[in-house]
Each structure stands twice: as structure tokens, then as C-alpha cells.
């Protein structure tokens, strides 16, 4: 059995770890809140632009971006993971979906190219010796619209040139503060259903075609931007939960070990008394 001193030092070590996890929990709580605010802030723009696109897609226009594909030959998939770990199953869940989706496409005879954002995704692909087309680890807590645009623009251009036939994002979708899950979102080809037209006599300046042509790239960009924002929000929420569990587990460990410590101390005292009493009895005789 461990000596009281050993148990005590172990308790101390767990208490130190708990201090760290609790701090991380608090930091993540604050960051998660900011990230969620950012998700909400971008929703107004995204919703409106989607609504406008839906009111216009019925026109018979021959834009490269509206190309419909029946049998894709090559697909580009952007996988969003975090730069850091200690966030429960956040990265693992995204990567699992990425792998299964990739295999599914490959079985259909589609060539897949993977683009990675986040260090965790990169190290996973390296570890499994899987090929990827590009990587970016610059996205931190604050993804910028400029970064999203860069990805969106390069994919759109290659889609227009028919180098790729499908573009999708695998990321952690933010449904609510309590519910996020990894999903595959197909961005191109565009599958916008025709929405209701509320103003039939609306004036278009300069023309419906021209407006749609300008709207589409922006709608795609904002889709990428939102995926990034949602992924960051999901990361911080996942980390907060993971760190809360760690803090609680540490608390429970400290409790049981304090019991063990007290028991060991008590046992030692009892033994010492027994020894003294035994010794005194021996002298008296």
C-alpha cells in the first residue's frame, strides 16, 4: 500500500492539472461565445443573399457556375479541422466523415482531391500517408472573409474551367449551442431550389442576368465563410465540454484519493500507537 506521502503528492499533481483544465474551460467558454456571436452576425448576410439567389435562379442563363453535372469525374473536398487538440472528438469526428466520404466517392469512380485546413487534419493525413492537394494552418480563432474568398474563388474558377465537377466542405455544422455535428455540404454544382417571388414587378438594375452573375460568387464565398465560422464555434464548444469533463473527473479523483490518504494516515497512527503500547508493555514486564 502507498504511503500517505505518496498519495499526497499524487493529489497535489491532480489538483494542478485540474487548475489547468478549469482555466481552459473558462477560456473556451469565452471564446465559444465570441465565435457563436460571429456565426450569428454572418447569418443575416448569408440568408439574404441566398434568398436573392433563389428568386433569380429560374432564369435560363448559361453561367459556368450553374453547370449541372450528372456524372462527376473529379471532386474537391475542403476539410475543416482545428489547429489544436484537447477538444474531445471534434477533430476525430470530422476526419472520420472525411475518410468515409472520400471512400464513398472513390467507389463511384470519382477522383477526389482533399484540401485541408487545420493542423489536426494535416497531421492525421500525414500519419495515415494519405495524399492531399493543399493545406492551410493559418486559420485560427478568427477566420477572415478574405481567406474564405480565396478558397471559394479558386474552386469556382476551376469548376468553371471544368477541372473539377463537384466542390464540397466537410466541417462541424453549428445547429445550436448544444448540438453540432460534422456534415458534408455540397457547394458546387449549385442546387438552389427556386424560391417564391414576392415582387413580380420588381425593377432590376441593370438586368436579372447581370445581378445573378454577380450574386452567385458572393453566395459561394459566404458559404465557405460560414462553414469556417461554424467550425471554429464548434471547436470551442467541444473544448469547453471536454475540459469540463476533465475538471469534473479530476475532482472525483481528488475525492477518492483524499479518502485513501486519510485511511492510510489513520492506519499509520493506529499502528504507531499499537507499537508504543506494545513497547511499553514489554518494558513493564
Amino acid at each position: 500500500m502507498a504511503t500517505p506521502r505518496e498519495i499526497k503528492s499524487r493529489i497535489q499533481s491532480i489538483a494542478n492539472t485540474q487548475k489547468i483544465t478549469r482555466t481552459m474551460e473558462l477560456v473556451s467558454t469565452a471564446k465559444a461565445k465570441k465565435a457563436v456571436d460571429r456565426v450569428h452576425a454572418s447569418q443575416g448576410f448569408a440568408k439574404k443573399i441566398r434568398q436573392l439567389v433563389q428568386s433569380l435562379v429560374d432564369i435560363e442563363a448559361n453561367f459556368p457556375l450553374l453547370r449541372q453535372v450528372t456524372k462527376p469525374a473529379r471532386a474537391a473536398v475542403l476539410v475543416l479541422t482545428a489547429n489544436r487538440g484537447l477538444c474531445g472528438g471534434f477533430n476525430a469526428n470530422v476526419l472520420r466523415l472525411a475518410i468515409s466520404h472520400m471512400q464513398e466517392l472513390q467507389q463511384q469512380g470519382v477522383e477526389v482531391e482533399i484540401h485541408l485546413i487545420g493542423k489536426k487534419g494535416v497531421s492525421y493525413f500525414n500519419y495515415r500517408h494519405l495524399p492531399y492537394a493543399s493545406k492551410d494552418t493559418s486559420m485560427d480563432d478568427k477566420p477572415t472573409y478574405a481567406l474564405a474568398s480565396r478558397y471559394a474563388d479558386s474552386f469556382m474558377e476551376r469548376f468553371s474551367r471544368r477541372e473539377i465537377d463537384e466542390v464540397g466542405i466537410i466541417y462541424t455544422h453549428y445547429l445550436s449551442a448544444a448540438h453540432q455535428k460534422p456534415i458534408y455540404l455540397r457547394v458546387l454544382p449549385i442546387m438552389e431550389e427556386v424560391g417564391e417571388k414576392k415582387d413580380t414587378n420588381r425593377i432590376y438594375e441593370p438586368s436579372r442576368e447581370k445581378i445573378l452573375e454577380e450574386l452567385l460568387p458572393k453566395a459561394i464565398r459566404v458559404t465557405f465563410f460560414q462553414a469556417m465560422l461554424e467550425s471554429v464555434a464548434g471547436e470551442h464548444i467541444a473544448r469547453r465540454i471536454a475540459m469540463k469533463n476533465a475538471t469534473d473527473a479530476a475532482q472525483e479523483m481528488i475525492r477518492t484519493m483524499t479518502l485513501a490518504y486519510n485511511r492510510a494516515r489513520q492506519a499509520k497512527i493506529t499502528q504507531e500507537i499499537a507499537e508504543i503500547v506494545g513497547g511499553a508493555a514489554a518494558i513493564e514486564e
Binding site: G44, E205, K210, I211, R221, V222
Partner: protein, 135 residues
């Protein structure tokens, strides 16, 4: 009797720049500047680089934009932009410098020229707003 007013939203992907009532709004339409007052017909227009002026009953708010969209529907204006500055945030010297170096750069090809022209128009619009503010 309360005056009728427009409800204006100016939003970018990153934040909401303006949200509230206005008497009228002046917009840099792609084919020329125009203003929207109460009772305007439904409209969907492209915006070019320039300045959005939102006149509320008390004050005038100005934003410099690179382009965007405006939807007018039943006295509600939704202005979508990819980014906007306040005129006072523009560094005139820096913009002038950028404009100069833009024209000193050598470009070839129809697309590159068009892109350069577009960029120059944005810079000129910024310069105009900044100058107006000082002058």
C-alpha cells in the same frame, strides 16, 4: 403624426454596419448614383464602388463601399456589401500611393486591364469620400 420612414439594413458577412430607420438613402448604383425615398418601387440593383449615405431624421451616415447589392421592398432596404469603411478611417496618402503604384504597374490582357480599372475605381471612390470629409 409620425413621419413615414424607411427601414435600412447595411450588412456585410462579418458584421451588421447599420440597422435602423432613415429618411432617405443615397446609393452608388452601377449605372449611376440614385436615392431611395419612402414609397420606392421594388428594386434589386447592383452597386458600384462609391458612397452610401444614410440620412436619418437627425444625422447623416456615410459608408464607403467597394460594390454590392441593394434590395428595396415595401420601404425596407437591404444593402449587402462585402466590406465597407467609414470615410474618416481612410488614409488618403496611402490610397493615393496605392493608386499611383497601380497605374505604374504593367499589365497586359483584357481581363487584367479590367481588373485594374475596377480596383482603381474603388480607390478613387475612397479618395473622393475622404476629400469631401476634409473639404
Amino acid at each position: 403624426m409620425a413621419e413615414k420612414s424607411l427601414y435600412v439594413e447595411l450588412i456585410s458577412p462579418e458584421n451588421r454596419l447599420y440597422d435602423g430607420e432613415a429618411a432617405w438613402v443615397k446609393l452608388p448604383g452601377i449605372e449611376g448614383s440614385f436615392a431611395v425615398l419612402v414609397g420606392h418601387a421594388p428594386l434589386l440593383s447592383l452597386l458600384g464602388p462609391g458612397e452610401v449615405t444614410i440620412k436619418t431624421h437627425q444625422e447623416e451616415k456615410r459608408f464607403v463601399i467597394e460594390g454590392g447589392f441593394v434590395e428595396v421592398s415595401q420601404d425596407r432596404l437591404t444593402i449587402l456589401v462585402e466590406g465597407a469603411f467609414l470615410p474618416q478611417d481612410i488614409d488618403k496618402d496611402k490610397v493615393q500611393q496605392e493608386l499611383r503604384s497601380l497605374y505604374e504597374s504593367v499589365v497586359s490582357g483584357e481581363n487584367a486591364l479590367q481588373a485594374r480599372e475596377k480596383k482603381a475605381a474603388i480607390l478613387r471612390a475612397q479618395l473622393r469620400s475622404a476629400s469631401f470629409l476634409v473639404g
